[in-house]
């Protein structure tokens, strides 16, 4: 299965988080917000002018900057259910 990073996901697509390439302190924060390996993630919209991404993980909606999203690799891209 092909892997890419989260910033490449298009609105309406969902994928599974494969790994997070960020420092430990931040990993705790991401994990607490539901951004964990194996979690299904849905791209809701992408901000204007290279603005942040609007994502949904589980029951939580978060915004994330594109540069940070590039550190998150994903796999199994598909259309959201």
């Amino acid at each position: 299965m092909s892997t890419t990073h989260l910033a490449n996901l298009k609105p309406g697509q969902s994928a599974t988080i494969l790994s997070l390439d960020i420092e430990t302190g931040l990993q705790h924060r991401f994990c607490a917000l539901g951004l964990r390996c194996g979690q299904e993630i849905l791209m809701l919209r992408r901000g204007w002018m290279k603005g942040p991404l609007h994502l949904r993980v589980g029951m939580t909606e978060v915004m994330l900057r594109r540069c940070d999203a590039r550190q998150i690799s994903i796999t199994g891209i598909g259309k959201a259910a």
């Binding site: 705790h28 607490a32 204007w48 029951m59």
Partner: protein, 597 residues
């Protein structure tokens, strides 16, 4: 006394529960990071007196930002009888890690599954008993906002408190916590079969609203239009109320106070009426505006739109070295700068925090709004004055943007931004009224303290020595004003106004009260007219610009210093804002005069 701490992730309703439990008025808002400091209150549970502590939100007990550090430090230093863990039921899939961590630490706890009303609406089903069994601590669904399940929760808390009469303290928090992998495993085991999430989030309202409010093209225009509408509403409703109250206070002065005090010597009478009464009355007339303002603020803060504005503005803020949260804090600064500066504790990178703290004091806070409302209604027509006011809001934005652009290199940061976008909510009428009422009370108590001091000082300066005409160049204020005139004359700010600015350093309420004292001398007593006679609109606008941009108040400086832990930084902020204020007023005044106004 028993010690109970209220612990939970940000924005889960800890403060809402704390308020319900203790009858306090902690600040509530639909934004993660409203509470950034400890708040305590006492309450009687059963026949025990307990001290309840509302903590800032914490994502993870290994958390690293300033507000999380407050929680960790508290947990390590304070022995507790009981921890109340507040979870947002609809997000139990991720928030359950907190009770797991607390259990690991061996702290006695009760878990409250808050927002039961939303969980119902979104179709999240939880089996509290099964969870309780697996976690080994009581688990109860409640709604802190609407009161469902509250009494049951209190009974359980009281019972648990009786069981745990010994204090427990945790040392070396870090070492005792599980690692991520174990945590993820435990989490899955605990939730399995006890929680049913809907396949799709069913908050249709939030999705629909977001489609419009976060629209790539329309989002920002809608945001600014909404802000403009709120401003218009406050102005349209607030000004007449302020006029009525002002007229009422004037009427009281001329029909009761003056006849009553007539026998007193002129000097004392002047001091009491033209000094104290006029000064305090002018400020008091603005209480309805403050009330309205914070009524609107309560709706904005509780709506969840703040987080959306962070989303909309982040791209621009990123280019200025800030982020969406800095923008939200600047918005909060429109109420009062002090809590906004404290609110930057959610930021982890010192550079980002410092830059945000440098920017926030330019937010036109409600105290300054009163000064501007007063001056603009005095010097401009009813049609012009809301536009004048709005232009000052634009200047406030511009000054913030300029400051960020200038200092971005000095305070670099690389902080990743991940922020929750909570569902849209609406405050209850009671929440709104309490918020507005608390702010009015605070403004009143606070301004009274300063105004009495400021008004007395300004009045005395204006009237001493007694053998010269009041407010003339021979009085003390005239002399002080003259002494610093070389600095202020190029801005079109006369000696009296200079004295008002001088005291405005302490708090902006004094500027308004001071103006009342300075111009309250003429017989006809109409302050607004008196000002209009002595200065023209160019001078007035230059004065307002200076008031907008220079140091907001002493408390802001104090907070800047304590939060940055650097005197140098506080001085930088003071120096920069003074310089910017001077330059802006200078260019405005000289420019306008050059153009022939």
């Amino acid at each position: 006394m028993r010690q109970i701490a209220v612990l939970g992730m940000p924005n889960t309703g800890k403060s809402t529960f704390f308020n319900r439990l203790t009858g306090s008025h902690a600040h509530i808002g639909n934004w993660p990071g409203i509470t950034v400091d400890l708040m305590m209150a006492e309450v009687k549970l059963g026949d025990e007196l307990a001290e309840v502590i509302d903590l800032p939100g914490i994502y993870d007990l290994r958390g690293f930002s300033e507000d999380e550090a407050v929680v960790r430090c508290f947990l390590e230093k304070t022995p507790l009888n009981l921890v109340l863990i507040i979870l947002n039921t609809t997000q139990i899939d991720r928030q359950i890690i907190l009770p797991l961590q607390v259990k690991q630490l061996g702290l006695p706890a009760v878990v409250l599954l808050n927002m039961a009303d939303e969980a119902n609406r979104f179709g999240v089903q939880v089996e509290p008993d099964l969870l309780a069994q697996r976690l080994g601590m009581p688990v109860l669904p409640i709604s802190a906002k609407y009161g469902m399940g509250y009494h049951g929760a209190i009974a359980t808390i009281t019972a648990s408190l009786q069981q745990h009469d010994n204090l427990v303290q945790v040392a070396e928090l870090e070492e005792r916590l599980l690692n991520d992998r174990q945590l993820a495993n435990d989490l899955a085991v605990i939730l399995d079969g006890a929680v049913q999430m809907p396949l799709k989030l069913s908050d249709q309202w939030t999705s629909r609203l977001d489609r419009i409010l976060l629209h790539p093209v329309l989002g920002l225009p809608i945001f600014f239009a909404a802000m403009y509408l709120i401003f218009q509403a406050i102005y349209a409703v607030g000004t007449p109320m302020q006029e009525w109250l002002g007229n009422g206070l004037d009427w009281f002065k001329s029909s009761a106070l003056e006849p009553f005090l007539a026998p007193l010597p002129t000097f004392i009478k002047g001091f009491l009426i033209d000094g104290l009464y006029e000064g305090i009355g002018t400020v008091a007339a603005f209480l309805p505006v403050i009330f309205l303002f914070f009524l609107c603020m309560a709706v904005v803060e509780d709506s969840g739109y703040l987080s959306r504005s962070a989303f909309l503005m982040d791209a621009l803020m990123e280019r200025l070295g800030l982020d969406g949260r800095s923008f939200v804090m600047s918005l909060m600064g429109f109420g009062c700068n002090v809590p906004a500066i404290l609110g930057t504790r959610v930021m982890r990178s010192p550079g980002l925090r410092m830059l945000s703290m440098l920017v926030i004091p330019f937010s036109l806070c409600s105290a300054r709004l009163n000064v501007f409302m007063f001056m603009s209604t005095a010097l401009f027509t009813a049609e012009q004055s809301p536009k004048v006011l709005f232009s000052l809001y634009l200047f406030s934005f511009a000054a913030a943007l300029l400051t960020a652009a200038v200092f971005k290199g000095k305070f670099p940061s690389q902080e990743p931004l991940v922020l929750e976008l909570p569902p849209y909510r609406f405050p209850t009428i009671k929440q709104m009224l309490i918020r507005a009422w608390c702010e009015v009370k605070h403004f009143w108590i606070w301004s009274r303290k300063f105004i009495i001091f400021g008004v007395i000082a300004i009045w005395l300066l204006n009237n001493l020595p007694t053998n010269v005409p009041a407010a003339s160049a021979q009085t003390l204020s005239g002399m002080i004003g003259q002494a610093i005139q070389p600095l202020f004359a190029p801005l079109g700010i006369n000696p009296q106004l200079t004295v008002a600015l001088f005291f405005g350093f302490i708090a902006k309420e004094i500027v308004l009260g001071g103006l009342a004292v300075i111009y309250g001398q003429p017989e006809d007593g109409d302050l607004a007219n008196a000002i209009a006679h002595q200065i023209d609109w160019v001078q007035a606008y230059s004065f307002m610009l200076f008031t907008l941009l220079y140091v907001p108040c002493l408390s802001t400086i104090a907070v800047l210093k304590s939060e940055s832990k650097s005197l140098k930084f506080a001085l930088l902020s003071v120096g920069w804002s003074l310089g910017l204020a001077w330059l802006a007023s200078f260019f405005f005044y000289q420019g306008a005069r050059l153009l022939g106004f």
